[in-house]
């Protein structure tokens, strides 16, 4: 017992000594922001892989810094040169010819050539490919490396979204020829070609990146970047305040605290990520387009933005609201109770003072579901339910655990899609009649409209901006007249950055704010 007591006492003393020593080491153990030329940025979750071909519309910060594709995107999300210095597309839209920059190298010093491009594209366009991005490359028929710096891609059918898809990172043949592009070890220890290289990754802790001086765009301005993984949003806020981290992805609930903190700046960027109320078109109640138009007038989107998103969002009146294509010139749905009454009455519905709209003795009655795990969607669902009830629709709200969702059994659902790039990537899946749920597709509401199908096809084959814009304007008109959804809001992505730091230039981001690190080579301390 004496030995035990002594042991415990000794342990306690050494603990205390260590704690004191820790305090002595750097003042508080939580000293102020980094003074060296690095940035520490926190997000919530550790990604499962840094392999760009395993991430679909889901560009993790590390992946975005480590890898570059043939092309990239500028602040307006227009396609610009990256690994390729220029390219041509044949007038039939079937042949693409890319010229690579001279002297490209991998992070391990090996040269990057057209063979790597061929290797990567062959692998992702293989029908048996397990790559998540394979869906974007189904039109690729063959890839040829003509010489070290030129590549020819031949398509089996025109696919205008291919250029955007080619912003996906190119992979090194010399490391993956044996194991294949989906090699899990490479996924967590990648060798890339981007402005930063990954030097250390600790699961659930952090990723350490170092500037790659041989980057084709010249050495990045920062020497290093740490991405740390802090799941709790309040903990991220405290770390920002204590200076343990410099910058972080934050929730709207933290925005006020960031605005009040000296030395921090709030960046609220638009995203292409929208939320809408999907209708199951198999349900007879949704048959009349006038009813769906009326519901689009019954929703107060400003109230949703202010009440649910705390102001950090935009009203959505269609799926292309933050896209450079397609919604200009199409009348936007406004919150207009008089219009609801007018449209419903014209369509033959009637209602008593307090009762719901009815037609032929049938009340307009349905339930709205959404993923119970997603707090924002649940809040949107609840407010929309209230708004629709006020407008005379007998609606109930019924959140479901993600796993319990059976798409064919739902009436309506708070759903989210959207891409800041070529619209086709996020329109054909949800709205083309060839993609209906029964056929195993992403058209979860089984929406079918020949005019929409035709416009989407025109968009896929359009080879110039005018034709593309015309196709998606026609698409937007068609879905405005026969709405598949009641459009709700666009989310914004919120990030805190140090006030004296020159960070990302504003740009419309992917969903969940992915794509923030697009110009990381230019970031620097003032």
């Amino acid at each position: 017992m004496r030995a035990l007591t002594r042991g415990v006492a000794l342990g306690l003393t050494s603990l205390l000594t260590l704690a004191l020593a820790a305090c002595g080491e750097d003042g508080t153990g939580a000293s102020g922001a980094q003074t060296d030329n690095t940035l520490t940025y926190a997000i919530d979750r550790t990604p499962d892989t840094f392999n760009p071909v395993m991430l679909l519309e889901h560009t993790d910060p590390v992946t975005q810094m480590v890898f570059r594709g043939l092309v990239g995107h500028d602040a307006d999300n227009q396609v610009v040169p990256a690994l390729a210095s220029d390219w041509t597309v044949s007038s039939d839209g079937l042949t693409y010819h890319f010229t690579l920059r001279e002297g490209l190298t991998w992070h391990d010093g090996e040269p990057l050539t057209s063979a790597d491009v061929k290797f990567t594209l062959d692998a992702v366009s293989d029908p048996a490919s397990e790559a998540a991005v394979a869906v974007n490359f189904r039109a690729v028929e063959s890839v040829e490396a003509l010489d070290d710096t030129s590549v020819r891609i031949i398509l089996s059918r025109p696919h205008a979204a291919l250029l955007d898809a080619l912003s996906m990172g190119i992979l090194p043949e010399h490391l993956l020829a044996e194991t294949g592009i989906t090699d899990p070890d490479f996924g967590l220890d990648p060798v890339g070609n981007g402005p930063f290289r990954l030097v250390d990754f600790r699961n659930d802790q952090y990723a350490e990146l170092e500037a790659f001086d041989d980057f084709y765009g010249g050495p990045p301005q920062l020497e290093g970047i740490f991405v740390t993984y802090v799941p709790d949003a309040s903990a991220r806020q405290l770390q920002l305040e204590s200076g343990e981290i410099d910058a972080a992805y934050i929730d709207p609930q933290q925005a006020d605290a960031v605005l009040q903190e000296d030395g921090l700046r709030l960046e609220a960027f638009p995203t292409a990520d929208y939320r809408g109320l999907l209708f199951n078109m198999e349900r007879p109640v949704f048959e009349d387009p006038a009813l769906r138009q009326a519901m689009n007038h019954a929703v107060d989107r400003e109230a949703l933005v202010d009440g649910v998103l705390l102001g950090y969002g935009l009203p959505a009146t269609g799926p292309l609201g933050t896209s450079p294509f397609g919604q200009a010139g199409v009348p936007a749905y406004s919150f207009d109770p008089a219009m609801v009454t007018e449209l419903m009455s014209e369509a033959g519905y009637s209602r008593d003072e307090e009762g719901p709209w009815t037609k032929g003795g049938q009340a307009v009655e349905f339930s709205i579901a959404t993923f119970a795990e997603d707090g924002v969607r649940v809040a949107l669902m609840e407010v929309v339910t209230t708004q629709l009830r006020e407008a005379g629709f007998a609606v109930t709200a019924d959140p479901l655990p993600r796993d319990a969702v059976q798409w064919d059994e739902l009436d309506a659902f708070v759903i989210g899609w959207g891409t800041p790039y070529h619209p086709d990537t996020s329109l054909t899946g949800p709205f083309d009649s060839s993609q209906v749920l029964a056929e195993g597709g992403e058209n979860l509401g089984s929406y079918a409209n020949p005019r929409v199908d035709a416009a989407l096809e025109a968009g896929r084959v359009a080879q110039d901006e005018t034709a593309t814009a015309a196709a998606y304007e026609e698409f937007s008109r068609a879905i405005a007249e026969d709405p598949p959804y009641t459009w709700l809001v666009y989310l914004q992505a919120l990030n805190a950055f140090p006030a004296d730091f020159v960070g990302p230039a504003e740009r419309t981001l992917e969903h969940h704010g992915y794509g923030l690190f697009w110009d990381v080579e230019n970031w620097h301390w003032e």
């Binding site: 017992m1 820790a22 508080t28 996924g187 740390t228 305040e241 795990e373």
Partner: protein
């Protein structure tokens, strides 16, 4: 019963529990709604709803279409050989993920256990032996409040006070990114999560057990007689009060380890601690079943081992623990 037989009996019992737990976990996961193939696809596309056709392909690739008994058998065989499977999400061996996470959780649990043992003995003894009823009531009141407070509230309070307001201690992680791990920085990073874990889970109960254990024995005849013999108070406390008085506490401590670990799940998320709990929560969220089953299995081994250690320690403190009570003779004193 000899110490060897006692040990053998307990280890056999633990093994049976382990087999039952693994079967149960595997069965429950099978019954759980949802489709891991769908989850993998969703994770890779940042939550995008996957097409049914893609889900079917993925199910096939993950071998989810094999019959359940076949999969269970394969899993048990592999687990016995030390292969805990491959993560659905990363495609890497589960053991590679689990190893570091287990070490970090052990470090955290050990620190929390040391804190709560030392703290509970000190405070419990003080409450039992003090002559000031005000002090005793103060301690009891505080412990009552602490006992009623959920662990995450304690955690957030500590975080707010020491990291937010005073900025004395770091709020999360096991060290500063990119810096070599030093003892000083580890202790600084351990301080808040360990304290939250120690004082947010069972601490009030522990203090109470020490206090009542010692108080009851204090009045026992052999202690009275030792006191009458003029034994030095510190020797009396150590030999006659503390040692037998701690038995209920030590036994409870072993059981409490399970609760401590459950608490660690939440604490690790709040303090960004890269341990087993965070891994389990992340893998449950992503339906990464191989990782989830392995974390549950490792947690079960850990809890069983802790219970065993608690029983062994208690049996060393008081040999009567490992003896079945004789007919007609009750075990007195506690």
């Amino acid at each position: 019963m000899s110490a060897g037989r006692f040990l053998l009996q307990r280890v056999t019992g633990a093994l049976i529990v382990l087999i039952a737990v693994s079967t149960l976990v595997f069965g429950l996961l099978e019954l759980a709604p949802g489709d891991p193939a769908r989850s993998v696809l969703e994770a890779r596309s940042g939550g995008r709803v996957p097409a049914e056709a893609a889900v079917a392909v993925q199910r096939e690739a993950m071998g989810l279409s094999d019959p359940l008994p076949l999969r269970y058998l394969a899993w048990v065989t592999d687990a016995l050989c030390g292969d805990l499977g491959t993560s659905h999400l990363t495609g890497r061996p589960v053991s590679g993920l689990l190893g570091p996470a287990l070490v970090w959780t052990l470090v955290l649990a050990l620190a929390a256990t040391v804190l709560s043992v030392v703290g509970a003995i000190a405070v419990g003894l003080l409450a039992a032996l003090t002559d000031s009823s005000m002090l005793r009531r103060g301690i009891e009141g505080t412990m009552f409040a602490l006992g009623g407070m959920p662990g995450f509230v304690t955690a957030l309070l500590l975080l707010y006070l020491f990291a937010g307001q005073l900025q004395l201690l770091p709020t999360g992680g096991v060290g500063r990114p990119g810096e070599a791990l030093t003892a000083g920085s580890l202790v600084a990073h351990l301080a808040l999560p360990a304290a939250a874990l120690a004082f947010g889970h069972h601490f009030g109960v522990y203090v109470r057990l020490v206090q009542t254990g010692v108080e009851r024995i204090r009045q026992a005849p052999h202690v009275e007689s030792a006191r009458a013999r003029g034994l030095h108070p510190s020797t009396l406390t150590r030999r006659h009060l503390l040692r037998p008085g701690l038995v209920p506490f030590v036994t409870r401590l072993g059981v409490g380890t399970g609760g401590l670990l459950a608490g660690a799940y939440v604490i690790e998320v709040i303090f960004a601690w890269p341990g087993l709990g965070r891994l389990a929560i992340e893998s449950a969220r992503a339906e990464d079943y191989p990782v989830l089953t392995a974390t549950v299995l490792v947690t079960a081994v850990y809890v069983l081992a802790a219970n065993l250690a608690g029983e062994l320690a208690a049996s060393r403190l008081d040999p009567r623990v490992r003896l079945p009570p004789l007919q007609g003779e009750a075990v007195h004193g506690y």
